[in-house]
């Protein structure tokens, strides 16, 4: 009995150690404030990056930690965006409740979808997520009376946050708002992945057959994390809708689903910050190369993907941490 408690408190301490903030993390979050003072003209881009990073973290939770490959997560992003947009068009422009409602609705949809997700694996899983993504795009396109079709949802009017911080043209409020939501999202995800639940998710990723054998309810775990990830993707979508005051069909597009996976792979899966680093690099590169024909932009993305898979399968952060280990 005492042995068991000793062992469990030992593993508890291990988890707690993992949960501690490192110097790099603190430095990183301090650095996120820099754009306010140094690049005020790029604040809109910075808020887009924060939103993309939050979306990438939501994908990391299921793809990096639980091993659910998805090519259709934009469905939940888009549902969040349309929910937030429609709530404000219905006359309620308060951003925080809008954000929560959008996240809640996306989470609900995610919960329903999770019953399908846990049934399938391998190619069928990829195809189901892809199919659901394409399905929601076509549905939104067909439901023009609700979504505005290809014109998108115009005239989304968002009230100031707490009645004081108005969304300005420069994006000060937008970036601050997106950054704080991203930070909260990261804190929650951190807590989640460094918990016993997070460990069992990793177990599912590593060996699905062994988990039931040690008494783990893997289906329940997968459904739970998928629902959480869906809600987070919905919040990211809602942030985009609220900070840009529009919702377009491309929030649901396959392109968005693919881009977010690319960001995640680029930064490194299964390490939360990989999602953020990937989002920063991807979005900054796309902004800088904006005059390039999109065809050629994807040429480089394609080469990069092939390179990452063959040379650094754990992304930029993975390569960096390996370098650091070699130096030590």
């Amino acid at each position: 009995m005492t042995d068991a408690t000793a062992a469990s408190s030992e593993s508890f301490r291990w988890l707690q150690r993992r949960r501690r903030f490192s110097v790099y993390e603190i430095a990183f979050w301090l650095a996120t404030v820099v754009p306010f003072f140094v690049f005020p003209t790029y604040l809109t881009l910075a808020s887009q990056i924060a939103i993309a990073a939050l979306f990438a973290i939501s994908v990391d939770l299921i793809l990096g930690y639980a091993g659910i490959i998805t090519l259709g997560h934009a469905m939940l992003f888009g549902i969040g965006a349309y929910t937030a947009g429609l709530i404000s068009k219905a006359g309620w422009g308060e951003p925080l409740t809008g954000l929560l409602l959008a996240g809640g609705f996306a989470g609900l949809v995610g919960f329903v979808v999770s019953f399908i997700i846990v049934r399938v694996r391998h190619l069928a899983l990829i195809m189901i997520t892809l199919g659901l993504g394409l399905l929601s795009y076509e549905l939104a396109n067909a439901m023009e009376w609700l979504t505005g079709g290809t014109d998108g949802l115009q005239g989304v009017d968002i009230w100031p946050i707490f009645g004081t911080f108005k969304f300005d043209l420069w994006g000060y409020t937008a970036y601050g708002y997106a950054l704080i939501v991203l930070f909260i999202g990261l804190l929650l995800s951190r807590k989640l992945v460094h918990s016993a639940f997070g460990l069992s998710l990793r177990g599912i990723r590593e060996n699905l057959k062994r988990m039931p054998a040690i008494g783990s309810n893997y289906r329940g775990h997968l459904q739970k994390i998928y629902t959480i990830s869906a809600a987070m993707a919905g919040v990211a979508g809602a942030l985009l809708a609220q900070t840009t005051s529009t919702v377009s069909l491309d929030t649901l597009s396959f392109q968005r689903s693919a881009d977010v996976v690319v960001m995640l792979i680029l930064g490194g899966t299964g390490r939360l910050y990989g999602a953020i680093v990937g989002a920063i690099i991807f979005m900054v590169a796309r902004d800088q190369l904006a005059d390039m024909n999109p065809q050629y932009w994807y040429f480089w993305i394609g080469l990069l993907l092939m390179f990452v898979v063959l040379v650094t399968p754990d992304g930029i952060l993975g390569a960096l941490s390996r370098l650091a280990r070699i130096r030590e």
Partner: protein, 288 residues
């Protein structure tokens, strides 16, 4: 009148389905064989299309020589890719396979846009394939009839080759149990390379055949990838009969949806995809 309309939809849909069958059957077999998720399969189809168009335009090859040229080119390029790149990924997980091959699709699309531009490519089919054939008051496109004949011949050849030849038996053994087949002294590696080349060659042929019906531009590899994957996953891996029925079903549903209820577009086929995979995750004819 209604019956005639239905007959036309069925005919056009079946012809489109046969095109999808030729495009995707190779992927079904290679996926069943090596469990390698090759999303670049559609890109080999695109390659075949461009080879056919270019060889007719610049080399003056007739249509019926351009088709085998497309087959050979796609087979050759695919085997080079397989030997140098893909084989490194057989042991890695699905995510890496998906990412790598999708990266290849991006690169292929950009390369096609660079060489041929983004406009639709024209193809000149022989005059006797251009018109239509009248039968009891309905007009059937000659080219679509030709497509059905080609696909049926290919199906027969595949079934015959897989069931009755020595090589076919080796492929079946490797699909069923790769380790045991290897243990019995089969050179699974070479078998796979040959099957991969044949499958990609068929995709190339399908791409060449598709130009007349659906056109050809750099997004071909992506656009038809979705169709190809639907055929493969719905039909079940490694099953030729499954691919055949899934392709026919998909072709008919797609054409029926576009003719009869254009406002919901492709919604119908995606719904069908999700529903079928929800009920039978291994596909209609899949065995594992």
């Amino acid at each position: 009148m209604v019956i005639k309309q239905i007959a036309i939809v069925l005919f056009d849909g079946f012809a489109f389905g046969m095109l999808l069958f030729v495009l995707s059957v190779g992927l079904s077999v290679t996926l069943g064989l090596m469990n390698f998720i090759n999303l670049a399969h559609g890109a080999f189809g695109m390659l075949g299309g461009y080879v056919a168009v270019a060889s007719m335009q610049y080399l003056g090859l007739p249509f019926f020589l351009a088709l085998p040229a497309a087959f050979l080119a796609a087979a050759a390029v695919s085997v080079i890719c397989e030997r140098t790149l893909f084989r490194r990924l057989y042991r890695s997980d699905e995510l890496n396979q998906v990412l790598f091959t999708i990266g290849l699709v991006f690169v292929a699309a950009a390369a096609a846009a660079y060489v041929f531009g983004t406009s639709q490519q024209p193809i000149q089919v022989p005059s006797f394939l251009r018109g239509s054939i009248e039968f009891s008051g309905m007009r059937f496109g000659a080219y679509r009839l030709f497509l059905i004949v080609v696909a049926l011949v290919i199906t027969l050849l595949l079934v015959f080759g897989l069931e009755l030849t020595r090589f076919g038996a080796q492929v079946r053994a490797s699909v069923d149990n790769q380790r045991t087949a290897q243990g019995l002294g089969l050179d699974v590696d070479t078998i796979f390379a040959i099957t991969f080349a044949l499958g990609s060659g068929l995709a190339g042929l399908g791409g060449a055949l598709a130009v007349e019906i659906v056109g050809l531009d750099p997004s071909f590899g992506f656009h038809y990838l979705v169709y190809v994957l639907i055929v493969v996953s719905v039909g079940g891996l490694g099953s030729i009969a499954g691919s055949f029925f899934a392709a026919a079903l998909l072709g008919i549903c797609d054409v029926a949806g576009k003719y009869l209820v254009p406002e919901i577009g492709s919604f119908l086929i995606y719904l069908l995809l999700v529903a079928i995979l929800f009920v039978r995750p291994i596909g209609l004819f899949g065995r594992r």
